[in-house]
């Protein structure tokens, strides 16, 4: 009954295996089938998801607070990256995770990134290097680690090399500056149709070495049952996040799956494996289901449904969003929200196979360790199943993992699938690369 209620706002459209092909022939490229847009009334943004936003902010603030107190309280901390991370393992090892990427983006969104970037460039970093790294290095050179309150240097630097080659450099530099031991967790790129057993064995062996290193740092013995509990909580959070993301199939979508997903990306990528994160996603899904029931979306009117590819321009987050808002464009899916894990297609951590399950997630169940062409398939599925009208590619200079070759992606979607595609270029961290005109 409840499901039926949720589904009633879904648009009716004849679906079939060739639905996207039909668009490419007489579909979105054909003006007669373009979404009807009534421009007579302006689109406004509703203040619609206060609970989710506020809960996320409080949770992330608590985590930052714990990091700030860690040194005084004798808690070990471990720097780790967002993409395909193994945060549950660090938590089970009683190592409090810290995420330099989160620090960098928070400084960008607070308009504090440019002086830090310039500081790093003074130290020799190129204007063509990833600005995420430079903002972080600049912060460290200034003597700090946190975006607001100071965070001590990490006890351990865990480079989860999951796709992004810059991660290897970033964390090697962080270890060099901080003096913390560097653990290079090498995750083979997803390059075969099925995960090779050799890849899983290799990652599991490294996870076991990481556990041993954490034991030495914390002086605490690792408990596999605690990891199982963490993974069960992680799976609950993944389920809740997936529920939220599937709700944007409704018309109107209850939230913007690009700009609003940031409220969920913190908890899913940073706090996964905690009861707080699992509860958060249960509540977020309930809140978004309520909005679906009430037929409410993020805008006064949903005129165009988009899929957005690429990270956002954090220094101009609101300005960029406004560009879409005024056209009534709502993102119903985004690739950026899957950098830590692609949960909406069904993968969950399995507490019965703890290390193997973590390895599988790192190897293939996240966006960054898949090829750019595999991303085309992910986006195509979003366009089809979430019934999007167009694709927006936000191409950022800093992150070549995301951006290098997005022109080929545009060719594929426009020429081969007939999906209207917009490609815009700026940066996720460096305000010098953003111009609205």
């Amino acid at each position: 009954m409840e499901e039926a209620t949720h589904m009633r706002n879904l648009s009716t459209r004849a679906e079939g295996p060739d639905s996207l092909r039909a668009r490419s022939v007489g579909g979105l490229g054909d003006p007669s089938r373009a979404p009807h847009v009534d421009r007579s009334s302006p689109v406004t943004e509703r203040q619609y998801q206060g609970i989710v936003h506020e809960r996320s902010r409080a949770l992330m603030s608590d985590w930052m607070g714990a990091l700030a107190r860690a040194e005084a309280e004798g808690v070990a901390t471990g720097a780790i990256m967002i993409s395909g991370n193994c945060v549950e393992l660090l938590r089970a090892c009683h190592v409090l995770p810290m995420f330099p990427e989160v620090t960098a983006l928070q400084n960008a969104i607070r308009h504090k990134s440019l002086p830090l970037i310039l500081k790093a460039e003074q130290a020799g970093y190129s204007s063509d290097n990833c600005a995420y790294v430079k903002a972080d290095v600049g912060l460290v050179l200034e003597g700090g680690m946190g975006p607001g309150k100071p965070i001590p240097f990490p006890s351990l630097v865990v480079c989860n090399y999951v796709g992004c080659n810059v991660y290897v450099k970033w964390f090697a530099h962080l270890a060099d500056i901080s003096g913390a031991p560097l653990f290079m967790l090498d995750v083979p790129f997803a390059r075969t149709e099925r995960i090779a057993d050799a890849d899983v064995r290799y990652v599991v062996a490294q996870l076991e070495e990481l556990i041993a290193l954490c034991e030495r740092i914390t002086g605490r013995r690792f408990d596999i049952d605690e990891l199982r509990e963490r993974l069960a909580l992680a799976a609950r959070a993944q389920e809740g996040y997936a529920r939220c993301k599937h709700l944007t199939k409704h018309r109107p979508a209850p939230f913007d799956s690009y700009f609003d997903s940031i409220n969920m990306m913190g908890p899913i990528n940073v706090l996964r494996g905690t009861a707080e994160a699992a509860d958060f996603f249960d509540d977020a899904a309930t809140e978004f289901e309520r909005l679906v029931d009430e037929g409410l979306g993020p805008l006064s009117e949903e005129r165009v449904r988009t899929v957005v590819e690429g990270p956002p321009p954090y220094p101009f987050y609101k300005s960029f969003r406004n560009l879409f808002t005024k056209w009534g464009a709502v993102a119903v899916q985004s690739t950026y929200s899957t950098v830590g894990g692609i949960w909406e297609f069904g993968f969950r951590h399995d507490p019965r196979r703890p290390l193997e399950s973590i390895a599988e997630q790192m190897l293939v169940q996240n966006l960054t360790n898949r090829s750019i062409v595999a991303r085309y398939a992910q986006i195509k599925r979003y366009v089809e199943e979430w019934e999007a009208d167009a694709l927006v590619i936000h191409s950022i200079k800093s992150c070549r993992l995301f951006s290098a070759g997005q022109g080929d992606m545009r060719e594929y979607f426009t020429r081969e699938l007939g999906v209207p595609t917009l490609l815009v270029e700026s940066d996720l961290e460096d305000p010098r690369y953003y111009a609205e005109a």
């Binding site: 130290a123 020799g124 970093y125 190129s126 063509d128 290097n129 990833c130 790294v133 090399y161 796709g163 992004c164 080659n165 810059v166 290897v168 450099k169 090697a172 530099h173 060099d176 560097l182 290079m184 967790l185 090498d186 083979p188 790129f189 390059r191 075969t192 090779a196 050799a198 890849d199 064995r201 290799y202 062996a205 490294q206 070495e209 090829s371 750019i372 062409v373 595999a374 191409s395 200079k397 992150c399 070549r400 993992l401 951006s403 290098a404 070759g405 997005q406 022109g407 080929d408 060719e411 594929y412 270029e425």
Partner: protein, 384 residues
């Protein structure tokens, strides 16, 4: 054959499109295949052991105008990725049976899959080379990755890589690398006998020839070079570092030398002289090659080494080559080189080794500003 005659042959080979080289070789080796490998390192031994001619895929240099690749890759992407893609669109690699890319950087990673999407007639394989240098699990993993590569070519073309064949190919490439090391030793001792553009051309030709032919050519060159005329000059001895993937235009190398430098060491074509010494040829050949990658490789911006600081390998190179200074030459937009520049520069400064940086692009054609910068650097060193 004189050095000049060898150089003329090398220049002619380097000027040929890869596709033409591949086609000619296949015509002479029925059933064989030719596979082009993108920088930095690829297991040429494994390819060769299966009856494949490995060829270096190093972009289009200044020979190809971009008419398609600019629409695929943005302005902030390095030139070698774009021109390599352009080679495919313009048919310059038609005749090459396969391509191998690896995880040297994010751009190369994406280039590999875009190659596969756009040029599906060829076999395009992607290798994940390990970045963990200390785990006991890394050598078995890499051996399995090398076997997977062999299996790909066996499935595609029926070319099987046996252990004895791989041992023999490893010995062949050991011989080639030994000749290259000897050439560099000669260069370090008597840099006036072979200019850097000449040395580079010879090496580039060695990446396009069957390895046994390359060994024979280098043997002749090594035997005749000591007799070559040449007058030592009072120049600054420098190590050039940073051009391990995108290759610098010959004009830049000429300017570096004309402006008062002897380039006594470099990292051009690094993958073809990847190992510090011979790869063992007894025992399990796949494991031996994998172990050599982990334990005998030169320092590189594309292979993380946890056991030593990034500057250590460069400082050793400076001392071994009796160099006075380092000229960093990162390609424009090359993140591995640009990131490593910071750590290496700091290491050089701690060791008291002077350095300067010159960015380049493969299509760079005017060098006057670079010449001025280098001359100033050289004068500051020679007359301080």
């Amino acid at each position: 054959m004189t050095p000049d005659a060898i150089l003329a042959r090398c220049r002619a080979l380097v000027a040929e499109p890869l596709g033409a080289i591949a086609t000619r070789w296949r015509d002479g080796h029925p059933g064989g295949r030719a596979v082009a490998v993108y920088p930095v390192w690829a297991p040429a031994e494994v390819l060769h052991a299966g009856g494949v001619l490995p060829l270096a895929l190093l972009g289009g240099g200044s020979s190809v105008e971009l008419t398609h690749a600019d629409a695929r890759f943005q302005s902030f992407v390095c030139s070698v990725a774009k021109s390599t893609l352009e080679l495919g669109f313009q048919g310059h690699v038609k005749g090459v049976d396969g391509f191998v890319f690896s995880n040297i950087c994010d751009v190369a990673r994406n280039l590999g899959s875009i190659y596969r999407r756009n040029f599906g007639d060829a076999v395009v394989e992607y290798l994940h080379l390990p970045q963990n240098s200390t785990s006991p699990a890394v050598v078995p993993y890499l051996a399995s990755e090398l076997r997977r590569l062999a299996a790909t070519f066996e499935a595609a073309w029926g070319l099987k890589v046996t252990e004895p064949a791989l041992e023999a190919s490893t010995a062949t490439y050991n011989a080639l690398r030994a000749r290259i090391r000897a050439l560099y030793a000669l260069r370090i001792a008597t840099p006036h006998r072979l200019t850097t553009p000449e040395l580079y051309t010879v090496l580039r030709a060695a990446t396009l020839a069957p390895p046994d032919e390359a060994v024979a050519m280098l043997d002749t060159l090594l035997a005749t070079l000591p007799e070559r005329e040449g007058r030592p000059r009072d120049r600054l001895r420098v190590v050039v570092e940073g051009a391990f993937c995108e290759q610098p235009p010959l004009g830049l190398l000429e300017v570096l030398e004309d402006a008062g430098c002897y380039i006594v060491e470099d990292d051009f074509l690094l993958g073809w002289r990847w190992f510090r010494d011979d790869v063992p040829t007894s025992g399990n050949a796949f494991l031996a090659l994998a172990a050599a990658y982990v334990n005998r490789a030169v320092a590189s911006s594309t292979r993380h080494e946890s056991r030593e600081h990034r500057a250590v390998g460069l400082i050793e190179k400076v001392r071994r080559a009796k160099a006075d200074a380092v000229v960093f030459t990162p390609a424009k937009f090359c993140e591995p080189a640009l990131f490593d520049y910071v750590l290496m520069k700091q290491g050089l400064e701690r060791a008291g080794i002077p350095h300067m940086i010159v960015e380049f692009e493969e299509k760079m054609w005017t060098f006057e500003r670079t010449r001025n910068e280098i001359e100033t650097f050289v004068e500051s060193m020679l007359f301080e």
